[in-house]
């Protein structure tokens, strides 16, 4: 659906159900250069099980208007504003990759609004390879190819998408290339590279938190994901074997099952 956040047209997938502000809200936040489309194998499930779902397109991404926000802090604040913009008071957040930094920032800036936090393929800092960053800021398509290479685990490079007929690497690539690379991926990579608040914010988080990590993640390595989880008081950690950074697609079923259990326990539907 389309709605206004700070006066700008914003798009979020509602998982195929009409949005209902009276149902518990889960907001999904995508990674660098991507859009709501990466979440389709998680969002539709919750949307048809009593939750209201918003898989947002960050400003300038996917179907949202405006320019990309330049810092993780701005993005975190913006996600907090989304909650009020749709008439809700609180939400659970699910972030992937850069979306983990964004959702942590959101909790730090809007602690009263956030009930649970799920971090997929996260780390407390995501410093960028300088060559990759330069390529993205120059809108060089090679940046996307490198990103798809790094983002998928060894098994993911062979394919085997959970949805019959889809080919992982090219799906991600086309989502990124839907926009001018420097305006989305370039800005996002720079924002990740500049962001240094992760460890301090993570240590202050005080809400039910789940970290889902890929054992073969080369974008945010397993050890970095574990360090982040260790910073967060009481964080649950689930590791998916033989999986890279794109667990939400590479191992969509396992990811959904883990998320289902966490949400059911910590953000249940009220009968």
């Amino acid at each position: 659906m389309k709605f206004k956040v700070r006066g700008i047209d914003t798009f979020a997938s509602t998982g195929g159900r009409p949005f209902d502000k009276n149902k518990p809200l889960i907001i999904f936040v995508h990674g660098s250069g991507l859009s709501h489309m990466v979440w389709v194998l998680q969002t539709r499930y919750f949307a048809f099980r009593g939750y209201s779902v918003l898989a947002v397109d960050l400003p300038g991404h996917g179907l949202s208007s405006g320019e990309s926000l330049k810092t993780i802090e701005e993005m975190g604040d913006w996600v907090g504003d989304v909650i009020g913009a749709v008439g809700c008071k609180e939400a659970s957040l699910v972030g992937h990759s850069q979306g983990c930094l964004v959702t942590m920032e959101c909790v730090a800036q809007h602690p009263e609004k956030i009930k649970t936090l799920t971090l997929m393929g996260g780390a407390s800092a995501i410093p960028m390879n300088p060559e990759l960053l330069k390529l993205a800021e120059e809108s060089n398509p090679k940046a996307v190819d490198l990103m798809m290479d790094f983002a998928h685990g060894p098994a993911g490079h062979f394919g085997g998408h959970p949805v019959p007929g889809l080919y992982h690497l090219n799906v991600g690539s086309m989502i990124v290339q839907n926009k001018e690379i420097k305006d989305t991926l370039g800005v996002d990579f720079r924002a990740c590279d500049n962001y240094k608040n992760g460890p301090e914010i993570a240590k202050k988080l005080d809400l039910p938190t789940l970290s889902i990590l890929g054992a073969q993640d080369r974008m945010c390595r397993l050890k970095d994901g574990k360090i982040l989880a260790d910073y967060i008081k009481g964080s649950e950690v689930k590791i998916i074997e033989d999986c890279g950074h794109m667990m939400l697609l590479e191992e969509a079923d396992q990811t959904l099952e883990i998320l289902k259990k966490f949400i059911a326990k910590n953000y249940p539907l009220i009968n």
Partner: protein, 436 residues
């Protein structure tokens, strides 16, 4: 720093398959089953509602067929693919997903005869009309577009006359009109051309041909490039508006670069059901493993054959984009740098009677209605593949009664030539009799 994603030959052997998820089986297993067990009621509901990936019923998807779909998709550089029972069913499924009654297509006139008949005779029964345009008439494609036109369709190298459509320029015309360009790339395979790199939005194949190479199995496929923005205008409401068949799902919104394939599977396979048998998918996968090796030999044999035929006293003309003086030679060198394929059309002196004598007297070359087999194939299109067309349609499609269609195989070149010499000798005899 370069990406270490797998390249073409590796993908043709490995894409879409993980042995670790299949009991360690190195070869792709044949899942000869109709249906798949659900974990519980919630799992079943989620699968039926496209909330999670997986298999329900082999009319919709099958694990063996899935490997083939991903493999071809990877080779084409696409985002999603859907395999079907034949190339014709892939085209039909594509058009039925794209169009509604009252819609219109702009289509190249030089196509396989069955495809011509689909657009000319069958689709009008469903209220879908077509304007045919000669493949070299690039401006004609633009002029033929109407407000209700939903796409442009063509074979890059037309069957059987070997005229090329200027895919990059026709793609620009399609983009200006906000409609997709659909290319039947059967003749090329992704080894010779990846149409998405030249502006195509959807690609269809008959996998029965070179992709398989072994002449054992029928199969087709639709591949999506992920390049077309279905939401750019209001021409494609079935893609962009809530779809009643899946509780108000908007395919374009939810699935973006894979929306067309998701719709074709969810609606088309559900309601029409032209599914591919897993055994056939497995046979095609075997062929794909050697695609590069076979295409190289097909093309090198074809080049020698063009030279041989061009210099033969019994041959009136030769059409192959590599032939000297072919009107599309420059375009072919640009978009088919690895070779222009192994289909040759030639005119035999003596017309229809000579053609029949030639075909009846070759022994190595097989006279049959197929192309792209590992073996050399010949046919007289006007009396076979295109025989259901009237004279005017034959002429518009660029067919003549002296035309022989040749699909050059992988045999030793000298053996093919010796066989053809027998055919040409026999072809001279009807004329000698006539001259008396």
């Amino acid at each position: 720093m370069d990406p270490k994603t797998y390249k073409f030959d590796t993908l043709s052997l490995h894409a879409g398959y993980q042995p670790s998820k299949n009991a360690g089986s190195r070869q792709v297993p044949i899942y000869q089953t109709t249906s798949y067990m659900f974990d519980d009621v919630d799992h079943a509901a989620a699968l039926f509602n496209l909330e999670r990936g997986g298999h329900i019923y082999s009319r919709m998807s099958n694990p063996t067929v899935q490997v083939l779909e991903e493999r071809v998709c990877a080779l084409e550089g696409g985002t999603a693919a859907l395999a079907t029972a034949s190339g014709m069913s892939a085209i039909f499924l594509t058009i039925m997903t794209l169009c509604n009654a009252g819609d219109h297509m702009v289509v190249s006139s030089q196509l396989y005869g069955g495809t011509v008949n689909l657009f000319r005779l069958t689709l009008p029964k469903f209220g879908i009309k077509t304007t045919f345009v000669k493949p070299r008439d690039t401006e004609g494609f633009k002029k033929a577009i109407q407000p209700n036109t939903k796409g442009i369709f063509g074979e890059l190298v037309g069957n059987p006359g070997n005229e090329l459509m200027n895919m990059p320029e026709v793609s620009n015309i399609a983009k200006e009109a906000g409609i997709p360009l659909i290319i039947d790339s059967t003749y090329q395979t992704p080894y010779l051309c990846r149409p998405f790199e030249h502006g195509a939005d959807l690609v269809v194949h008959s996998l029965t041909k070179w992709m398989s190479g072994n002449g054992s199995s029928m199969a087709g496929i639709l591949v999506e490039g992920g390049t077309f923005d279905w939401m750019q205008n209001d021409k494609f409401p079935t893609m962009t508006e809530p779809y009643e068949g899946y509780h108000g799902l908007s395919f374009a919104e939810e699935f973006g670069p894979t929306a067309f394939t998701m719709m074709a599977r969810a609606e088309g396979m559900r309601d029409m059901g032209p599914c591919l048998a897993p055994q056939n998918a497995w046979n095609i996968l075997h062929g794909l493993e050697t695609l590069s090796l076979r295409m190289e030999k097909h093309c090198s044999n074809a080049l020698k054959m063009v030279e041989y035929l061009s210099n033969h006293e019994s041959v009136a003309w030769v059409s192959h984009a590599s032939a000297p003086g072919h009107p599309d030679k420059e375009l072919a060198e640009k978009i088919l740098p690895k070779g222009t394929g192994s289909m040759i059309a030639f005119g035999i002196k003596g017309g229809k009677e000579a053609g029949a004598a030639f075909i009846n007297n070759v022994k190595l070359a097989s006279h049959l209605a197929n192309v792209g087999d590992a073996r050399t194939l010949v046919i007289h299109p006007a009396s076979a593949t295109h025989s259901q067309m009237d004279e005017a349609t034959l002429k518009f499609a660029g067919l003549s009664h002296d035309m022989i269609r040749l699909s050059v195989g992988l045999e030793d070149f000298e053996d093919i030539v010796n066989d053809f010499e027998d055919g040409f000798r026999a072809a001279k005899k009807p004329r000698l009799v006539a001259n008396k």
